[in-house]
Symmetry: C2
Subunit: 364 residues, 2 copies
């Protein structure tokens, strides 16, 4: 079926673009001699995770235990849960998962380290862990150098967890304005991590992994000697935000939402989906619009209701009519994926299949 014959709204993933994106990021990893452990929070779809593995990825990253369980149930068996897990229910699920997959975690505090260690030790196993370092995002993570070294020294004494290295996410790159700035942040991210890892090694603490990377910084951080792993997520689809951060060009964007025009006024249109389809994510920059209308540069999505996109017609370019279909590149691919139960795969204009977004909504 031609994709423009689909009922709308419909979430479309262009598999040709997707596969190009996977290959290009894998080449960056290979060329720099680092492992690619992509973050599956973007697509939440086991089928795409398997594509990443076949392209050369060495395990995957997830944000939540629930995502790890879905990926494992679909055959993925090397999983990093990059989130500080808390609470008895999660400890039990983590240990169950560790019985059937290679599971590693990241953490940055004693309460979390102690809880995981106690639970694992009681079961007679060790959970491998990275220590998360804050290289500038100021979200989770310890300050690089001394603060991280002091924590690692103490955490390596815990019996139920096994230190395997350092991890960071330079999400501050999303606030950068120029590519030079992003490159500098990526290099700095890598350099701070390698320096801290060297301090640990000088202390006699084996530090095999130095794991970095957001989609914008990955290609720069990967070049830093001593980095061993990159974990970009959004590169699978890219989106409006990534174009603005110079991570890709418009033609790389593999994720679109197909809408129908349902109302037309002299100065504006209404599409048949809003924040429940595109998300109200403006990104860290606070974008003025809510996505990019493909092929209509003079249409501007200036507001979203829950089920309506409000679209301004700028100047006198041609505007579609009621009943016409349009494709929109969302602001933030990850947020959009989490709103939809399925996506339609396309090649060119042809719809070639429907895939369940199996880890959607796995908030725990």
């Amino acid at each position: 079926m031609n994709k423009f014959e689909l009922d709308t709204p419909a979430l479309l993933i262009d598999f040709d673009k997707l596969e190009n994106n996977l290959a290009a990021m894998q080449k960056i990893a290979n060329d720099n001699g680092v492992k690619l452990r992509p973050h599956t929070k973007t697509h939440k779809t086991p089928y795409i995770a398997h594509k990443q593995m076949r392209a050369g990825a060495r395990g995957v990253t997830v944000a939540k235990l629930g995502e790890a369980e879905v990926m494992n149930a679909a055959g993925l068996d090397d999983l990093l849960i990059a989130f500080p897990l808390q609470g008895a229910a999660k400890m039990e699920r983590l240990l169950r998962l560790a019985e059937r997959a290679a599971v590693r975690v990241s953490l940055d505090s004693f309460p979390v380290a102690q809880a995981i260690s106690d639970a694992a030790a009681a079961r007679g196993i060790k959970i491998p862990f990275y220590v998360e370092v804050d290289t500038g995002l100021h979200r989770v993570g310890l300050a690089p150098r001394q603060a991280t070294r002091d924590f690692v020294r103490a955490a390596t004494k815990l019996r139920g967890i096994e230190f395997i290295g350092l991890l960071t996410h330079a999400g501050q790159a999303y606030a950068a304005k120029t590519l030079d700035e992003i490159a500098a942040l990526g290099k700095n991210e890598g350099a701070l991590m390698v320096e801290t890892a060297e301090m640990l090694r000088a202390d006699g603490i084996a530090t095999p992994e130095v794991s970095v990377g957001s989609t914008p910084t990955a290609r720069f951080a990967a070049q830093v000697q001593g980095v061993t792993e990159i974990r970009p997520g959004t590169y699978v689809f890219y989106d409006t935000m990534q174009v603005h951060k110079f991570a890709c060009v418009w033609d790389d964007c593999a994720q679109t939402v197909l809408f129908t025009v349902v109302a037309k006024h002299p100065d504006r249109l209404i599409f048949d989906g809003g924040s429940k389809t595109l998300s109200s994510d403006r990104g860290p920059d606070g974008a003025a619009t809510f996505g990019t209308v493909v092929g209509f540069p003079h249409l501007e999505i200036y507001a979203l209701s829950e089920e309506h996109a409000h679209v301004k017609i700028i100047g006198d370019g041609a505007a579609p009519n009621i009943g016409d279909k349009v494709q929109v590149i969302p602001n933030h691919a990850c947020a959009v994926m989490n709103l939809h139960d399925q996506f339609i795969a396309t090649r060119g204009d042809e719809a070639i299949g429907s895939f369940e977004i199996a880890a959607r909504g796995k908030i725990r």
Copy 2:
């Protein structure tokens, strides 16, 4: 189980507050002699729709055909689809639904009116329709008075649809700053609608329904003589935005998300859920924060990552520790409901059951 023992994040609905909210809005409708046809896009949950019906509602409103199908499958049989339906696939589904439920639609253009009429006439039935009037939101809808009258005159000639009245949504109230302003908008909404209905009646066009109402304006619009129906949605739960629009007080807010603190720094905390749990909806006012932490007025959710809430500690009030649980009243209840597959019902501190949000993600 005590709700604070639940694994997190968890979406909680306080049934005592919910039932108070349902009764209070029903009383407003009854006292003013208007029908209440609540919008189920807020809760997307058949169980709550049935509660609304038992409290006295006369049918329900939905935003999407997919929501109507879910509600009908759960036993709701009087449904208004308040959206301009487009496309052959939707016509087929609409007619199927009309075979098993009383379905009415709203529309505001000839392409939509003609398509529904043609499809229904071919099946030998008539679909009842409201004409949507734009009383100031400038989303969908025709201008009141002449523009609406001209359209209705022509649309009533179509054989497959049956005119039953006028409908509007005064969503512009969400941009109002004072309760006086909201009251004036509600009164104006009602007055414009009644005036336009009177013009139609003077033309000999039977206009039984005059349907209005957002949650903030419902109680004011309901007082206007000649209004027959109100369609608020968010009043079931309320939220931070509704408190700021004077529609309720904090204690009325029935929807919260339970989080665990997973990181603590001197000046800030991290909770274990972000935009994929709370949504990045700031509301039409562009709120500076992403929800309200219950019992901690000096904690401010200043940013959301996908799975992290970034929380500032203002001043020197007590802050919870890693592992502690906190409840957050979201900015926008409807957006949050659409992110979750289930909610946990509570009475007081007790969790009393889990309910599927069956119409979540029904974007078509």
